[in-house]
Symmetry: C2
Subunit: 279 residues, 2 copies
């Protein structure tokens, strides 16, 4: 296949590596708003050539949107404006509400497949691309019924080739679920990092003791603002729901501790331990 990838960071770059390694792509063109990122991706061999956005659909079997989620809806409309019936477009973003609404009534809507591969690291940019990305994780295909069946099939085949498990749900469901299993983890990591760094300023030496548990909880706080700030804003209402519930749970914990309620804390932890059946 000939594939154009728009957005050559962690996700787009990793997708390029995987498509090449699994023999899915014979030729990969790349588009990036940053000329430095595009040049870097070319130099690293992630893509075969850099093209301007206006030429993204030229000769491509598949056009992939891997840009930040606030850029995707506009890019999607522009790509659909140019797309031919034999071509497919897809996105890899973490939120779907705004995107779905922007392309809902587009005459070429059926050429677009909304996808969210559940993989990432705290790194960013083309240098962060990894050929072992995606494998073993779930990918969500959203509102599959609004896309042409053959387009969905092609996209599913590609994700299967790179080792992902396909799940279908509506855009609305996907935005709720990712708020709970992905977006909130990032917010807690950011908040925890800010809390600890604030204390370090007055206290010093805090980090001499940083242990494995701290590292794994705070690792996500290294994730890039250009990718994550737009995700939170686009998924605002779902993220606010989870955030309110998390703050509520922390306040319960705080009240138990203020009352020295060892029994209540033990019960809360025992309940939290049930997460073992899942991860």
């Amino acid at each position: 296949m000939k594939i154009t990838i728009i957005g050559l960071g962690l996700i787009g770059g990793s997708f390029a590596l995987c498509l090449r390694e699994k023999g899915v792509a014979q030729h990969i063109a790349g588009v990036d708003a940053s000329p430095e990122n595009a040049a870097k991706a070319l130099e690293m061999g992630l893509i075969d050539r850099v093209v301007p956005f206006e030429e993204a659909t030229n000769g491509a079997d598949l056009v992939v949107l891997a840009a930040p989620v606030n850029a995707i809806p506009t890019l999607a409309v522009k790509v659909l404006n140019r797309i031919k019936p034999c071509q497919i477009a897809m996105d890899m973003g973490s939120t779907k509400g705004e995107l779905g609404e922007m392309i809902a009534l587009h005459p070429n809507r059926s050429r677009f497949v909304l996808t969210h591969p559940m993989w990432g690291t705290e790194k960013s940019g083309p240098e962060a691309a990894r050929s072992d990305a995606f494998a073993g994780r779930a990918v969500v295909i959203c509102d599959g019924g609004d896309s042409a069946p053959e387009a969905v099939r092609t996209v599913e085949e590609i994700y299967t080739r790179i080792g992902m498990t396909i799940t279908h749900m509506t855009s609305e469901e996907q935005d709720i679920h990712t708020a709970y299993v992905s977006h909130i983890s990032h917010i807690t990591a950011y908040a925890l990092a800010l809390t600890v760094m604030e204390k370090e300023r007055s206290e010093g030496r805090i980090f001499e003791l940083a242990s494995g548990g701290f590292e794994s909880t705070v690792r996500l706080a290294k994730s890039s603002p250009s990718m994550w700030a737009p995700i939170f804003v686009q998924n605002k209402y779902n993220v606010l729901d989870v955030l309110r519930e998390l703050i509520h749970q922390l306040q319960i914990f705080r009240r138990l501790l203020e009352k020295d309620d060892l029994e209540g804390i033990t019960a809360a932890i025992t309940k939290a331990n049930e997460i073992k059946r899942i991860i």
Copy 2:
């Protein structure tokens, strides 16, 4: 050395494995409040024999307290009541305030060395013991000036042999620091697990999408209540300080999101990214 370890769970069991592997211990006696744990530790070869608590000091060069932190102060006093001038006692607990106060004026205080090796996993019990524990991490020795210099030296040598880096601070400092780099990570993990499981009850399917980021943030929520509930209660005031600050940071985030303040969220994330210089 002949060593007695009191508490044969994750920490005591792992210490036994490391002491044996590095040739520090020629004979290890074990004490545990649970006869099942003690039998399991014996069967696994973590210890050479099980002894009742009353015989813990008999013939031992070193007595190690690796029980939950609410049990340690009482055990420490009883061990010091029996200890001879040639013997050393130490603990491996995560909090020091209560312990320090309980033994402060004991005539044999100088035979006790307060230590906190900064290592752990979310597992518990003798089965969770690992021979690769501790190595590469920091160990805190608290109020070292209150212990006999030769006792501190011996304990330092043992920790160095198993690959740890020695740090000295007061009990008070250690309790503040661990609240920030260890205790709060566990509380956020518990709260996050409770939040997500609550939602799953009404929504279902949440966990199909659980990704690597979710797993690493929530992993600590599997940690045992018998170990962690007493830690939070013993370190109440420091943990409450961090908890209040964390809730405050989350509320700031929530308000930025309510106002769709992309710029403010970007600034907060950029500041949180500074954690890169540390981990």
